[in-house]
């Protein structure tokens, strides 16, 4: 019996999740509401079945997510009985940090990176699952599945461990933590194929629909609420669009699309052939910035 590539990727992810639960004192799964998080949630349910996932889910909320995402988060928490923690960097909110005035770099740094560190410290998590994949960017190709962080959450490039066979070494000292990436060996296509095979629910924003958008430097940005600053006299246009990645709505570019079913999304992705990260405004701000962000603690 030949296991399919999806079955083997699934088995690998489950193995990694079980391993962390067996050795970590206080693990958490980061939950970003996006499609990768949906896949991670399904894998966690499978890994520990019939027990519920034996860890809480943490959403680091920048307060700038799409309304559809908040609705989806609520639905998932209810349907799956998730122990869902939501953390907002209140200090950042008080300082008035936002993607428009502060810029995407500062906004992401304060509301995402700093907020994540705050939450990990607050709850004392020593292991956090993330949905990052090696295919997302050239510099991630050599990223380990288990990534070690100092007590200050810094990624120490010289302190990463070789990973052989399925023998992960998750040992760490008190105060140190690990970030764990069960989807390391998945590609964007694998994620979509798995969602299709498993019929995993995802946020409707991934499907094409008429949405109000404005043009910002050649990128369609959706006017998701009244915080979006419009030029004098500017009217949002209704366009049939969808999103390939979801984040803060002012930082997520929409693409014009007719794909309103899962097969059509995958079809469009395969034919369009531009990489997923293109829609992420954050990547454009600083060239080769992932490495730097990682050192600072960005997931």
């Amino acid at each position: 019996m030949t296991l399919t590539h999806l079955e083997r990727l699934e088995a690998e992810a489950i193995d990694i999740m079980r391993e962390v639960v067996a050795v970590a004192e206080n693990p958490v799964m980061l939950y970003s509401i996006g499609k990768d998080s949906s896949v991670m949630l399904r894998l966690a349910e499978k890994a520990f079945w019939p027990a519920p996932p034996p860890f809480p889910f943490l959403h680091v909320d920048t307060t700038w997510k799409f309304q559809d995402m908040y609705a989806f988060r609520k639905r998932m928490a209810e349907e799956h009985g998730l122990d869902l923690l939501v953390h907002v960097n209140e200090e950042g909110v008080a300082r008035g940090i936002n993607p428009f005035d502060s810029g995407s770099v500062v906004h992401t740094d304060v509301m995402k990176t700093e907020a994540l560190k705050q939450a990990l410290d607050k709850y004392g998590f020593d292991a956090a699952f993330g949905g990052a994949r090696r295919d997302e960017e050239k510099s991630r190709a050599k990223e380990r599945i288990f990534s070690f962080r100092t007590a200050q959450h810094r990624w120490d490039p010289k302190n990463q461990r070789p990973e052989l066979w399925r023998l992960y070494n998750a040992r760490h000292r008190r105060g140190e933590s690990i970030r764990v990436f069960p989807l390391s060996n998945w590609t964007e296509l694998d994620v979509w194929l798995y969602i299709h095979r498993e019929e995993i629910p995802i946020v409707p924003l991934y499907f094409a629909a008429e949405r109000p958008v404005v043009d910002r430097d050649g990128t369609w940005i959706m006017v998701d609420d009244d915080r979006m600053p419009l030029e004098p006299g500017e009217e949002p246009q209704l366009k049939r669009v969808r999103f390939r990645t979801l984040g803060c709505y002012p930082l997520s570019g929409a693409i014009e699309s007719e794909a309103d079913t899962l097969p059509r999304i995958i079809q469009e992705m395969l034919l369009a052939r531009t990489s997923e990260r293109q829609g992420r405004v954050i990547d454009y701000d600083e060239a080769a910035s992932m490495e730097k962000k990682k050192v600072e603690g960005y997931f």
């Binding site: 079980r18 520990f48 490039p157 461990r161 066979w165 296509l189 059509r264 079809q267 369009a272």
Partner: protein
């Protein structure tokens, strides 16, 4: 990838792609062999690149490329140099591409520094290896090294891409020559399944498309090879069932499941299994899954089992087929690849992760280390970064395992530093060691050098061999008196005396003579450990036994002296009276009478006792010792 099908019938495409298998392979070779170009081309030709990546490649090729107007595929994989400058540890980069039938995970390891550590890491999860060589250069030391590591890590299928065929005019003769060279080496290594493929990564010949320039080649293209090579996980389904228990699932008092990834074979409800190392037998109840219970679980699947009986099972245990249980042991012979700056030291305790178990592990003697280029075995007392050695390991408790050659998941291990928690080594379990040969060597605080130092002398052995009555004991006595007078700390081991005590249980059969000789050697060894100069006077009739004694000592520490008196003269002189007794049948097995004596072929010194008296003989020995600076 069939873009036509994507457009026409996406559902059919999805159905096909959800049934793809997965192959993991490692690429070995340096940038100079065109490795980056080859991987880049595989990614490009399997259309795994997005348009923005291709656009970036086109721009980079114009700006930085080395291929003129052509695309420089090597640029797709760059970044490693920059990372090295930043001091980031690069071990293995993983790349992905896909065809209609398989998804591929490529473990790409930088060629030069750290190659052993990196290659071993990448190879540990690979089903097959792709070794690159330059057609102009043929099989180099590097090729041998890569092949050896691939073989060591248990990869059964090897493709050798003979690259840059365009630079040797696509010569069949050249290719066949390399094929012969490599075949000889593979045979020596014991590598059975290997395929040489002539390619030009730069032009694309025999990578995906068959080359028109090499009509003489009838074998598979590289892609055809990858599409058809055996996947390890399928083979492992035929192995005996093994489930290292990773996590015990206990959501309520009425459910207890044992979760883990099947490391070998298959399991179904009703199967008889044994829980190791404890050895309790039971029956499998259910194979529990989120989708509903399964008929069976197979190697490579992450499963949860329930068992019919309430027996104690915890993480680290192995659930195995009752009729083919895994062996259990606490002492092993193992091959270790060292991965840390701080060397592996014998006698130090690490943590060993094997299966799902983590146990203290102490490295007893390092038998030897390997020269990866020549496969020579070299004596060693430590292993440095990137060195490979064969060692004995003793664990703090027994574990269930399989030899690595039989099961990579239950036979591979990592070593973890107990202080830093770093992974410092990786290893392959060999056979279990059960016998007394593996009573672990006790490390001593004060060593032989220290003891000898206190006595201001160099310990060594003078081993006097010869027929009974040749004069060994007399020479030994004279020699010891001289050394003693000179202020040396000595001990005299005399065969006759040893036989009255330590060896009084032994007769004079050949086997017992050998055993007596072994004991004499070991005692001499202990005495030199004590810092003493040992004078040993033993008939020691067999060459092999004397060589055994010699092997206990470092070079130059064992001085063999042949006290040579022909048998007739020994009988005639008969200083011990034994020969007389032998004549009357009072002694049997007397060397020189009815038991053989093998004279040394190349003794350190031969004393001709037909000419020398005892004092002169002792003088000769002393002269030799001075000559060799053993008394300085």
């Amino acid at each position: 990838m069939s873009s036509e099908l994507i457009e026409r019938d996406i559902d059919a495409y999805l159905a096909a792609h959800e049934r793809k298998s997965l192959l993991r392979f490692i690429t070995c070779g340096s940038v100079d062999d065109g490795k980056s170009t080859l991987i880049g081309r595989l990614l490009y030709e399997s259309q795994m690149l997005f348009e923005d990546q291709v656009a970036a490649l086109e721009a980079d090729s114009k700006r930085l490329g080395t291929q003129g107007e052509e695309l420089d595929f090597a640029l797709l994989l760059d970044g490693l140099a920059a990372e090295r400058e930043q001091g980031i540890t690069i071990d293995v980069a993983y790349r992905f591409f896909s065809t209609d039938t398989r998804k591929y995970i490529v473990a790409d390891t930088p060629g030069h520094e750290q190659y052993t550590r990196n290659m071993v890491t990448g190879a540990s999860t690979a089903d097959c290896a792709l070794i690159l060589l330059d057609a102009r250069k043929g099989v180099l030391t590097q090729t041998r090294r890569h092949s050896y590591l691939v073989w060591l890590l248990g990869i059964r299928h090897v493709a050798v891409a003979v690259n840059k065929m365009d630079l040797v005019e696509f010569s069949e003769e050249r290719f066949r020559e390399i094929e012969r060279q490599y075949g000889d080496f593979a045979k020596q290594l014991g590598l059975a399944d290997f395929t040489l493929i002539p390619v030009s990564a730069l032009r694309g010949d025999n990578v995906v498309e068959r080359s028109g320039a090499m009509p003489w080649y009838g074998g598979p293209t590289l892609m055809e090879y990858l599409e058809s090579v055996e996947i390890d996980q399928e083979r492992m389904q035929d192995a005996p069932f093994r489930l290292p228990v990773q996590w015990v699932n206990r959501p309520s008092s009425d459910f207890r499941g044992f979760a883990g990834t099947v490391a070998g074979g298959q399991v179904a409800p009703g199967d008889r299994v044994v829980v190791l190392p404890a050895g309790r037998e039971t029956t499998v109840g259910r194979v529990v899954a989120f989708e509903g219970d399964l008929d069976r679980g197979v190697a490579g699947q992450a499963v949860t089992l329930t068992l019919a009986d309430e027996i104690d099972v915890s993480r680290g245990d192995v659930i195995a087929a009752a009729d083919a249980p895994a062996p259990v042991s606490q002492q092993f012979e193992a091959t270790v690849v060292w991965m840390a700056e701080e060397p592996l030291l014998r006698g130090r305790t690490y943590l060993m992760r094997v299966g799902t178990q983590t146990v203290p592990a102490t490295v007893a003697p390092i038998r030897y280390k390997l020269d990866v280029d020549t496969l020579d075995q070299i004596a060693a007392t430590q292993l440095d970064l990137n060195e490979i050695g064969v060692v004995q390991v003793e664990l703090g408790q027994p574990v269930a395992f399989d030899p690595y050659v039989e099961n990579r998941d239950t036979g591979g291990f990592i070593l973890i530093d107990r202080i830093t928690n770093h992974t410092v080594g990786a290893g392959l379990l060999g056979r279990a060691l059960m016998r007394s040969e593996n009573v672990r060597l006790q490390e001593l605080e004060v060593d032989r050098e220290a003891r000898a130092g206190l006595k201001a002398q160099r310990p060594f052995v003078i081993w006097l061999t010869g027929l009974p009555g040749a004069g060994k004991s007399s020479v030994a006595n004279a020699l010891e008196s001289r050394l003693f007078a000179d202020g040396r700390h000595t001990v005299l081991l005399d065969g006759a005396n040893l036989r009255r005590g330590l060896s009084k249980d032994l007769s004079f059969t050949d086997a017992d003579r050998a055993e007596n000789n072994r004991r004499a050697g070991e005692v001499a060894r202990l005495m030199t450990d004590a810092g003493l100069i040992v004078i040993a006077a033993f008939v020691s009739p067999f060459r092999a036994d004397r060589e055994t004694a010699r092997s206990l000592f470092d070079e130059g520490e064992f001085v063999e002296v042949f006290v040579d008196l022909p048998a007739e003269l020994a009988v005639q002189r008969d200083t011990t009276g034994l020969y007389a007794k032998a004549q009357t049948g009072g002694v049997i097995n007397l060397t020189g009478v009815d038991s053989t004596y093998e004279p040394p072929e190349e003794p350190d010194l031969r004393l001709d006792m037909t000419e020398l008296d005892i004092e002169a003989a002792a003088d000769r020995v002393l002269a030799l010792l001075h000559e060799r600076n053993l008394l300085s």
